[in-house]
Symmetry: C2
Subunit: 411 residues, 2 copies
């Protein structure tokens, strides 16, 4: 007998969760669309060269690759993944969007505001709440170099989260240029910025002392590390000019935070967080992330990536994106909100399997459907009492027996 | 510069089509749900052994397989696909459903009525209207051995097609057992049934004479071929007993056709078609297919597959399914119905990028959104007249300028 388990790190989605997922996706989509964004779709497979040529950072180590077809494979012990495979599964929706934009630019609006809702794939080590296939809900604005784009994205994402029942979340904002400026001013080399950021990213897990220790362990001089950490722990919105000089980036950062604060109407919070890093190598400007309650992970994240589209396009095109982590949202909702499991008005119409008149049974069912009910047809068993008890599973308001009942009976 | 084309045989879906796809999917889902079916989801990747061990027929030759990870590959010239790969992309939704049912049976309703809407993958030779990744909308009933299941599936699928604007389609019905009976009675061996069916399947393309020629070419005796073709061309609902003996199968076939005819109320047709074969090796009983207009392909198909779930389960479980080919539906709708491209009530709110008050702009936009409009925010350019002309693309009802207009202006 063959195993009936889904592949490692993935899972089956049962009816109760699927219903909630469908509702949430439609609610998020409606908010995105109301804000002028348009849905697009790209294939889950992309050319391997495209994926490997991206700034995907750690995600490139977690690629699922698809074996070449239709040609004799070069099977020798030195064969590389590019000898064996020509496609891979997408690890995010940003890279496919950049390719899409370059491929279809001439028929798209300018600026182009895209919605993408779809699965992405990463060969993460399986653990609770982490899956190898998971859904993301992204919005992106391509072609707007101003912070209006960041403000629109944050506003729209916040409204989508409010629409699905989240409030009291915190939007953290930071700026990659200011981070780089501080790191370099502390004496680190330009090519050390990435490595220093990886350590800074652990601030919320290991604290400032932990980060300091790690940077020293990496062999950086005490004085550089001290100067950097003094800034990271001391910088705030009121003393920015004391630590950084890049006036344009400071202006962008403060404008976004103050505007979003006005829009928030105290339903959520927006803060400057200089330890916010975000892993993706492709971000170039403002970056943002949404945290919620005591959950140790973000529920949404994004930022500006002005250089990515230039890889496929003759000219560079400015772009910003914001992605909701759908699986995290769902797992919080399923955990916190029992009322997420709304009961549809649904009933069962039992019928006698012997009487051979499905046409009439369906006719009666359709009358109830026209009244707005979901109607499930079920053949009666001999032990009808026991059968009714088994269907009293919380999913149905009641039942009828064909040819006998004219009113819905409660379980 | 890296190519911006999607991978071979796949395509990007642009905003206008994505909008139609979303609407159709929701309409189909609503009909399915009203009829008591529940949505589930399975991963697009399945274990390769599961896929290869299935009765997938021709589809197994079109598998996309995923390279193993985390272990040293056995790269020698004799390595098989199972040496290199441990997963594959699903080629249909029926096999994953069978695995799902076995994996989750104890928490599912009996009979279980499943909805699956998702992409499947086949490495077909790319050609017009054929894609390597495409969406299917399936409903299945698991655990009902009677034709009530077939009748419910055909009724529900027909109503879904009517709901999205199709009518006048023809549902063809046949029975695998009766086909086998006729082929064997004509003198063919049991292990030749599959090969004979492959020839019969071409009836609508090459006609009875063509099929006869092909069977003779395959080396079958003239007398057997003549007897078979006399039946295939002569059999109809009124003379079934003259050609076949299996009373149970005859009863099932006639009951399904007569019941569906009553339900059809002349909005669509249902016919017996003894040349209907359907390729999948796993069908065991009634099979059905929907044809529409002069299109040379079916828009939906399905049948009973009672033996599949037994592969993963201790006991065999009866099952029937019906699948709508979403891509075909969409391509017909985009071709035939201009009104499929409905215009949402959408407007553009232009603003002066210099005045630095996105909060106020968003406030005005939200007022219009509360009135039911999609509102797209766009920064004004110097040549505003030219800019307005570019946005007059048929997607918007009109526009406003922030701080100037209080009424929507037509383009």
């Amino acid at each position: 007998m063959i195993s009936s388990k889904p592949v490692r790190g993935t899972r089956d989605i049962l009816p109760e969760e699927a219903k909630i997922r469908d509702r949430l996706e439609q609610q998020i989509l409606a908010v995105y669309r109301a804000h002028g964004f348009s849905r697009i779709e790209t294939p889950v497979m992309e050319n391997l060269e495209l994926l490997l040529g991206s700034d995907g950072g750690e995600n490139l180590k977690m690629l699922f690759t698809v074996l070449k077809r239709g040609e004799k494979l070069n099977l020798n012990p030195d064969a590389s993944v590019l000898d064996l495979c020509d496609m891979g599964l997408r690890f995010d929706l940003t890279l496919p969007l950049s390719r899409f934009y370059s491929n279809n630019q001439e028929v798209l609006e300018t600026p182009f505001k895209a919605i993408q809702i779809g699965n992405v794939f990463r060969a993460e080590r399986p653990q609770k709440g982490r899956f190898r296939a998971f859904k993301q809900c992204d919005i992106d604005i391509i072609g707007d170099p101003t912070v209006s784009a960041e403000i629109e994205l944050i506003d729209t994402t916040a409204k989508a989260l409010l629409a699905i029942g989240f409030s009291g979340f915190t939007i953290k904002v930071n700026h990659r240029q200011l981070l780089s400026e501080v790191i370099i001013k502390a004496g680190f080399a330009a090519d050390q910025v990435g490595s220093v950021c990886i350590s800074l990213d652990k601030m919320d897990k290991i604290g400032a002392a932990g980060v300091t220790g790690e940077l020293l362990e990496k062999g950086h001089e005490q004085q550089k590390v001290n100067q950097l950490m003094a800034c990271v722990t001391g910088i705030n919105l009121d003393n920015l000019e004391k630590w950084v000089e890049d006036a344009a980036s400071i202006g962008d950062l403060t404008q976004v935070i103050s505007t979003v604060k006005t829009l928030a109407k105290e339903q959520f919070d927006v803060v400057f967080d200089f330890s916010l890093i975000r892993g993706m190598g492709y971000y170039t400007g403002l970056i943002f992330e949404v945290s919620y309650g005591l959950y140790g992970y973000s529920i949404a994240g994004g930022g500006r990536y002005d250089n990515m589209i230039g890889k496929y396009n003759k000219v560079s095109v400015p772009a910003v994106g914001f992605s909701i982590g759908f699986e995290r949202i769902i797992s919080i909702l399923m955990e916190e909100q029992q009322d997420a499991r709304q009961i549809d008005p649904a009933i069962i119409l039992f019928y006698d399997a012997q009487i051979n008149n499905m046409g009439a049974v369906i006719g009666v069912a359709d009358c109830w459907r026209n009244e707005g009910y979901r109607v499930n047809l079920v053949a009666m068993k001999k032990k009808f009492g026991k059968q009714i008890a088994a269907w009293d599973n919380g999913q149905y308001e009641g039942f009828l027996v064909f040819g006998r009942d004219e009113e819905i009976k409660k379980f």
